[in-house]
């Protein structure tokens, strides 16, 4: 089905929340997936894979333990791309762009890409992201390619620089999301909805008057 990007963002945000993210982190996941879909990369599918593989895993186990180090690792081994990406952005105005960072065992590295782009923008410095599944460079333009978008985990290298040899992906305003990944995300998203009851149906929305007037 053909989705608008705001629908993609909303679905991703709710799915991340349903899988145990805080609202603030779920918002990051939504924006990241929207950006990926906007250059035709399978962000929604990657998020569905990631959330299912690490459903309700405590954030503390998957966040970078020490962002002051140049090599980021998570206590539980696998690092969450949303958490690492958000941390990278949060450091971008001051600290992170000045150094190369290795993110070890990053789950679904595709999901980290939008954050590296944002960090390059915030840090006013060209940044590259390189992993076994692809390579990108973020400067005045966005260049790169992904060979293995669904790669479940990889070590990622982030460093300053450009890569003129990489191709320019094309932007799009829509995304074709197949039924299966959409349904997988929708199952997670549905956990944010309260079960319907007669009481909530009548009182919760506050109507109940006749509209035949």
């Amino acid at each position: 089905m053909n989705w608008s990007l705001s629908e993609i963002e909303g679905l991703a945000r709710k799915a991340a929340r349903g899988a145990g993210f805080s609202w603030g982190m779920a918002e990051e996941a939504g924006k990241a997936v929207r950006w990926l879909a906007g250059i035709g990369l399978p962000g929604p599918e990657a998020l569905a894979d990631f959330l299912e593989a690490h459903d309700r895993t405590p954030h503390a186990a998957m966040r970078p333990a020490d962002t002051g180090a140049n090599t980021w690792r998570a206590q539980g081994g696998i690092i969450c791309p949303i958490s690492a990406g958000a941390a990278l952005c949060d450091l971008a105005q001051s600290d992170a762009p000045s150094r190369d960072i290795h993110i070890m065992a990053c789950a679904h590295p595709l999901l980290l890409l939008p954050f590296v782009r944002a960090a390059a923008e915030d840090g006013c410095q060209p940044e590259r992201m390189i992993w076994a599944g692809g390579a990108f460079a973020f400067a005045a333009d966005v260049r790169g390619q992904v060979d293995a978008p669904s790669m479940a985990s990889a070590d990622v290298e982030i460093r300053a620089g450009t890569a003129k040899e990489l191709t320019l992906p094309s932007c799009q305003m829509r995304y074709d999301l197949a039924e299966l990944p959409a349904a997988r995300l929708a199952i997670m998203a549905a956990r944010t909805y309260a079960p319907d009851t007669e009481q909530s149906r009548n009182a919760g929305a506050g109507a109940g008057l006749s509209d035949n007037d």
Binding site: E7, T67, G204
Partner: protein
């Protein structure tokens, strides 16, 4: 008129004053309302509206297409009219059938487009629209007025003006979806077009064309009922019909979910007020225009009906305020220095919130040259405000939170009334609802719509965390990431945050609805409960074919010489 802008700016009102829920719930439409921006543009640019198709049978079912041609683009309202049994008529989101359904099409639809949309638009949320559609909406009849108007016209008579005054519309929309909903084009896809630069122009255009369709439909129904005797509506009477709107809780979270945009709207209005208050003197013609508008606002307040106890009190306040203002103006010397600023200071002591905010809107009326350019500041790039400034110190963040959410830090959040409510989304049609935290099992589903409580929690967490950067804090405490983002936005954009408890037992969601709807340009707020409101849009507005020769922006208050 030449105005030295820097000298003409008075102090802006403080967010602690403006952003209170009770004041936001007293806002009135103004020159900066989105409906008025749309009609001013359509007039200036000479937009033409044509009826492309009108294929309606005796039961009132069929299809109509109205196309609006602007300088660069054309937009078509496609209407599907339905013969709805009364038992199915509900304004709630959970309804499944309506008297009429609509989409605004980007361009001029082909027959294939219309056939595709006929399979989807009438079922609304259960259907699917595409990138060529910009909005999706539906409307129900005001049964009482509809039947009366059809019967009168069929007999060759005009309908009773008192009944028109009483209801104000023949159909009320019950949802107008835009911006990517149900497959429609995202705002990003059209935001670059000048006609959609201001907020909600797509939705306003859709509703404006809907009004034209509804008037044509009611006349057609009378004609089909009695072809020999039926007459059309007399133009002056016709203009008195607006479009109703019935809005529930779904709209309330918007103001919380778009803090940077809320700032843009409020800041534009406050800037306009400060420009007028800052005027060193008032010219006679402006004083006269203001007095005229006040007289018309009194008429408007007199015609405004509601059965809701809260609104009845507010209407009594408003009418008394306007009367008091009228008396004050008999003696007030508006020829002295800074007349509007002095009037404003008088009003702050003399009038209730209803009257004060009505006065804000009235003060803007005589000064298009000071106000209307601010329409260009009502939008913003929300993404630019969204990222967290991780290099801020926790101490600085704490100061900002204290300044913005001081009101919330004074609340005892352990008291059951303080957090009595929960905003949640129901499984059924994903309808936003408000539940009772201590009576219903809905807290696990809570939406992040309680910045005050979240800020109080944030302060406690910051105190426990100690020194460091915001980046380090949110890494350790992802549960506070949402409120940290909000606080940083509100630290940059002072009107971004509502300064009131959005989950307290005293919350009136209709305050949030009114704030937003007043920016649309809505009039005659008529709450049906604490979380549901009916309004009227485009009442007394010129129809598209009247825009060229008439005044496009002098209709929101009723005319003085009621004909």
């Amino acid at each position: 008129m030449q105005i030295d802008m820097p000298a003409a700016i008075a102090a802006m009102r403080q967010p602690d004053q403006v952003m209170r829920l009770d004041r936001l719930g007293s806002l009135h439409q103004s020159r900066l309302s989105f409906m008025r921006i749309l009609l001013r543009r359509m007039k200036e640019e000479g937009w033409q509206v044509e009826r492309h198709l009108f294929d309606i049978d005796a039961l009132g079912t069929g299809t109509a297409v109205y196309t609006a041609h602007g300088p660069q683009h054309s937009y078509s309202l496609i209407a599907f009219a339905n013969d709805l049994p009364p038992e199915k008529r509900s304004d709630r989101v959970i309804a499944t059938e309506w008297d009429a359904t609509f989409t605004l099409f980007d361009g001029i639809p082909t027959e294939d487009d219309i056939a595709r949309l006929r399979a989807n638009v009438p079922v609304q949320e259960a259907g699917r629209i595409s990138q060529s559609e910009l909005s999706l909406s539906r409307a129900n009849r005001s049964v009482r007025l509809w039947d009366h108007v059809v019967a009168a016209l069929a007999k060759g008579r005009q309908p009773d003006p008192a009944m028109i005054e009483d209801v104000g519309y023949l159909m009320r929309t019950t949802a107008v979806y835009g911006s990517g909903k149900f497959g429609a084009a995202d705002r990003d896809a059209t935001a670059g077009r000048p006609e959609f630069q201001a907020p909600y122009q797509i939705e306003m255009l859709s509703v404006y064309l809907t009004r034209t369709f509804v008037m044509d439909l009611v006349e057609e129904m009378a004609r089909q009922a009695a072809p020999d005797t039926a007459v059309p509506l007399e133009p002056n009477l016709r203009r008195r019909f607006g479009i109703g709107n019935s809005t529930g809780l779904g709209m309330a979270p918007y103001l919380l979910n778009h803090p940077a945009l809320l700032h843009a709207w409020i800041a534009a209005r406050e800037t306009a007020l400060s420009r007028v208050r800052g005027l060193p003197s008032a010219q006679a013609r402006h004083i006269e225009a203001f007095r005229q508008m006040l007289a018309r606002a009194i008429l408007h307040a007199d015609g405004w009906r509601s059965d809701h106890p809260v609104q009845i009190t507010k209407l009594a306040d408003l009418r008394a305020d306007l009367a008091r203002l009228g008396v004050h103006l008999q003696d007030a010397n508006l020829s002295d220095a800074r007349p509007w600023d002095r009037l404003w200071h008088w009003a702050e002591d003399a009038l209730t919130l209803e009257g004060q905010e009505q006065l804000v809107s009235l003060l803007l009326e005589p000064y298009p040259e000071l106000v209307d350019d601010l329409a260009g500041t009502l939008s913003c790039d929300e993404d630019r405000q969204w990222r967290i400034a991780g290099d801020m110190s926790c101490a600085r963040l704490r100061e900002a939170v204290q300044a913005i959410y001081g009101w919330a830090l004074d609340i005892d959040w352990a008291a059951p009334g303080a957090d009595a409510r929960v905003w949640y989304v129901s499984e059924a049609k994903l309808e936003p609802r408000l539940g009772e935290r201590h009576l219903e099992p809905v807290a696990p589903y809570e939406q992040p719509l309680s910045p005050g409580r979240d800020a109080a929690r944030l302060i406690a967490a910051l105190d426990a965390f100690g020194k460091g950067t915001v980046a380090a804090f949110v890494l350790a405490h992802p549960e506070h990431r949402h409120i940290v983002r909000r606080a940083q936005i509100a630290a940059r954009l002072p009107y971004a945050e509502i300064r009131g408890n959005t989950i307290g037992e005293d919350l009136l969601p209709i305050d949030m609805l009114r704030a937003k709807l007043s920016f649309f340009g809505a009039c005659r707020f008529d709450p049906r409960s604490d979380r549901w409101v009916r309004i009227t849009l485009f009442q007394n507005a010129p129809f598209p074919d009247e825009l060229r020769d008439g005044d496009a922006d002098d209709w929101t208050y009723p005319p003085l010489a009621a004909s």
